[in-house]
Symmetry: C2
Subunit: 523 residues, 2 copies
């Protein structure tokens, strides 16, 4: 069998069932092999950033890697920003990059480029398959690498002749290595921090448990909630979780703020910061005269569980020590009223909170317009919240495609800022082709609003030229035209009531829909 078929069969045997593809000539044998291995479903994306972002969304929801099939260095380049986000999300993702035939590289053909260097910048594992006989084993090793807890980007570079040569052999399937258990001594140290080391005796009120990664799944949140109830320690979530379970019935946890001074205020007085699947917090950007981290001076940082450890297990062990008789405190069901009147980011959030269906997957790239979303949706039926992990905008629409393919029975809501949507808008086409149940809401404020804020925070003096470079009007962008131009039914909402009605209908109908929110009272 050809090397390509050995790769594709091995991937399928390893449980890889989806390949988000934007192929070129060097990937043609891989593409052809998909016909012989129907277990691996090929999903066409019209831009590589859609393919890599979709693989991220798929991996966040399943814990298993999808493949993203990319065309040489430029294809990988187009996919890099969302692989960067996947790296920050610690998502298992398998990037497969076709290359020229091994013997052709020395000719420096037009598409020749340093694939390996690009791959290393976002991948925890990179391998270049050297011969067809090894390609199956390389594919299995790539899946194993992607599944290394907590998950990472693994990149397999496949030269064209490796895929078309006939001595391919499949490799035995790999299984995921379990997350490492946390030693009892580490749990006991954290126990001391939450229960014995506060300035007020046995109170945990000067301790904060910072949750990230698998620390934001329901079992982990329930354990953390028990600890908080019993000790007075506060639980908080990292600023941009890859995936967070929340809503009615799930213990609620506030997120650390994006702005470093707000995060510092949240952490003020903390003497013990206990990390459970999260990294020590840092400022997203540096600003003149502002600190690079919100952690207070003198605060002791304890690592209860690294992201690759068994985070829920460690939290449960800590809860059993610190709160043996305490039950978790679930979030009560509560929804805002369906709003009417002016359409603002706040009333839009209320409409979403009022209507969010049970089991929804929310892909949040609403950025500044999303400020009211956490509050408005806190008591909605239980759902998953996926956020922009690496700061590279253009993630939300692709991630929603991957989440929808990963979880065919669940409604997906993509909440998108207008500026961010423009980076990977062709994801809508994939929604339509695959008939994905994704409802896209575009928060159209016609500006890079986050940058208007950041401009001031960096102390830069903004004149009219600078302002014009943050302005998305002149011309206004009509996202309903984009959507209908790619086969996605679309509407525009001018009032909160219109939005609520449109959202209700979109959620009731299967398949993709897009609603553009004309924020600021525009027509």
């Amino acid at each position: 069998m050809k090397g390509a078929e050995a790769v594709v069969r091995t991937l399928a045997d390893c449980g890889v069932t989806t390949c988000f593809a934007n192929p070129g000539t060097s990937e043609m044998h891989f593409v052809a092999a998909l016909d012989t291995v129907p277990e691996l479903h090929g999903v066409l994306c019209l831009f590589e950033g859609v393919a890599t972002g979709a693989a991220d969304g798929y991996g966040r929801m399943t814990g298993r890697p999808a493949a993203a099939l990319l065309h040489l260095g430029p294809g990988l380049g187009n996919g890099l920003a969302n692989l960067h986000n996947a790296r920050r999300a610690r998502t298992p993702v398998l990037a497969i990059v076709g290359d020229h035939a091994t013997y052709h590289s020395r000719y420096d053909a037009p598409l020749e480029s340093d694939i390996d260097a690009l791959a290393r910048s976002v991948s925890g594992w990179v391998r270049r398959s050297a011969r067809s006989a090894d390609a199956g084993a390389d594919a299995a090793a790539a899946v194993a690498a992607a599944l290394t807890p907590p998950g990472q980007v693994a990149t397999l570079i496949l030269p064209a002749d490796v895929t078309w040569t006939d001595d391919g052999v499949t490799a035995a399937p790999v299984t995921a290595r379990p997350a490492a258990p946390v030693p009892a001594i580490v749990v006991e140290e954290a126990y001391g921090a939450v229960c014995g080391a506060g300035s007020t005796g046995r109170s945990g009120e000067t301790a904060v448990i910072l949750l990230g990664g698998a620390g934001l799944t329901r079992p982990a949140l329930e354990a953390a909630s028990r600890i908080a109830s019993a000790t007075g320690a506060r639980m908080m979530a990292e600023t941009f979780p890859a995936r967070m379970e929340r809503g009615a019935g799930v213990p609620s946890v506030p997120r650390l703020a994006y702005l470093v001074e707000q995060a510092a205020a949240q952490l003020a007085g903390t003497l013990h910061l206990i990390l459970a699947g999260a990294r020590a917090p840092v400022s997203f950007f540096a600003y003149p005269g502002k600190p690079s981290t919100p952690v207070p001076d003198g605060c002791q940082v304890h690592v209860l569980a690294e992201p690759g450890d068994d985070v829920p297990g460690a939290l449960t062990a800590l809860a059993d020590l610190a709160a043996p008789a305490t039950a978790p405190v679930p979030q009560q069901a509560a929804r805002p009223e369906i709003p009417d009147g002016e359409l603002t980011a706040e009333s839009a959030a209320a409409a979403i909170g009022a209507l969010l269906p049970e089991g929804a997957i929310v892909c949040d790239e609403a950025n500044t317009s999303g400020l009211w979303l956490p509050g408005a949706t806190a008591g909605a039926p239980s759902h998953d919240w996926l956020s922009l992990t690496g700061g590279a905008i253009g993630q939300g629409l692709p991630v929603a495609a991957g989440a929808a393919i990963a979880c065919p029975g669940r409604p997906v809501l993509a909440l998108e800022a207008d500026g961010s949507a423009m980076y990977t808008v062709s994801a809508l086409w994939t929604y339509a082709r695959e008939e994905l149940d994704v409802t896209t809401v575009i928060f159209s404020n016609r500006s890079y609003a986050v940058l208007s804020m950041e401009l001031e925070r960096t102390g830069a003096a903004a004149g009219p030229t600078a302002r014009s470079l943050l302005d998305l009007s002149r011309p206004d962008i009509d996202f309903t035209a984009f959507a209908t131009g790619m086969g996605v039914p679309a509407s525009r909402a001018l009032t909160a009531g219109e939005f609520a009605g449109q959202l209700q209908r979109a959620l009731a109908e299967p398949g993709p829909h897009l609603i553009e929110l004309a924020l600021g009272g525009r027509r």
Copy 2:
């Protein structure tokens, strides 16, 4: 003055007048500095690939670098594919990448990534500015590097604190280093090859002069035409020229074919291949059983002029030796009739040939649909032809934006394949904002047609799954909706006559227009 202002003033003093920008927080001081230096015009692009492709188009038309302002590693990643194309085009381009403040890097904030590694993959020159006092000098060095003949991508990485610290100083402007003259002995060797070394005595019929880079400007083409007329040597152009002058009054030169077997047929019998600004030709891809180069066995390759040499000067010197009394043979004016009837790639090419205005700049990413364009436009009024140099699709629309800004008086025609257009379609928004006189023609055949051909050529067995991954229907894409959604007037042509009428109107009106060609008789 702040480091950012020192950079921006120095760039303006060095003749950099345009900055294609997709900025983020770390670039805010650079953006603010644009208000104090109005000589540097900021052009907002909604995706980094548009900014880098526009800088490529600008540089091809002016020989001077425009800046592309990008946001950390992910922004550079999104711009890499078109920087790859610019590298292959040997265009002077200045990539300016903002980074975190120097002291903030150690915190590994979410957007931290290996900018330097990404930059090196596409740049001939990379520098990371270390302190504000040096930033002006670094900017001047970057311009000088970009202008190194024949031109290259120079990347300047600007940490945020370098831009906001107050001890910036401007640097003296740099001027372009002239291309190196070619020594007489090299010209004489080429003279021997075209005039003295053929198998039929003094005939040059077994010699081919392969022109690339500056070898495709009018003076170079006129010199090559004289040589060809006097000696019987054939002149040919590289397959994908960055910029080629052609049309009535300019000597006409056929391009080497894309497919290696066709190129090999064009070069069959060649004993001397004389390179003038071009590289020795190679196959774009490798295929089982096909050669990696079309150069015949036993053919001697002579380098008359490297791309960075004075290529027109070398050709003129050779012409003065080989053809002292011979005049160049200009292309005669000749246009196809305005077509009517069925709309095909061939009749569309005829309409373009019939209507192409004098001085037009054609940005050609029509790919397989463009097969008839060179023939149909050969005798049109003189124009420039810009092609896809590096094989990374998504180049044409951005390059057209840059060309239009570089040459405000000239009409620009962007000829785009539908698949390629989807990578950087937001370029249309920049056309509208800047009111650019770009007429975009989308050759909508609803497939990655080049891959259908390549699938067969690679010997891959295509089943229905493979075919579906090359198919751009289900859903059909409506490019007129995209265009009007971004403020660009648009129409759809169903017949050749409709297209001709729409093209005539679009060319007559200032500002951007888009025409979607419904190829294959679709409605």
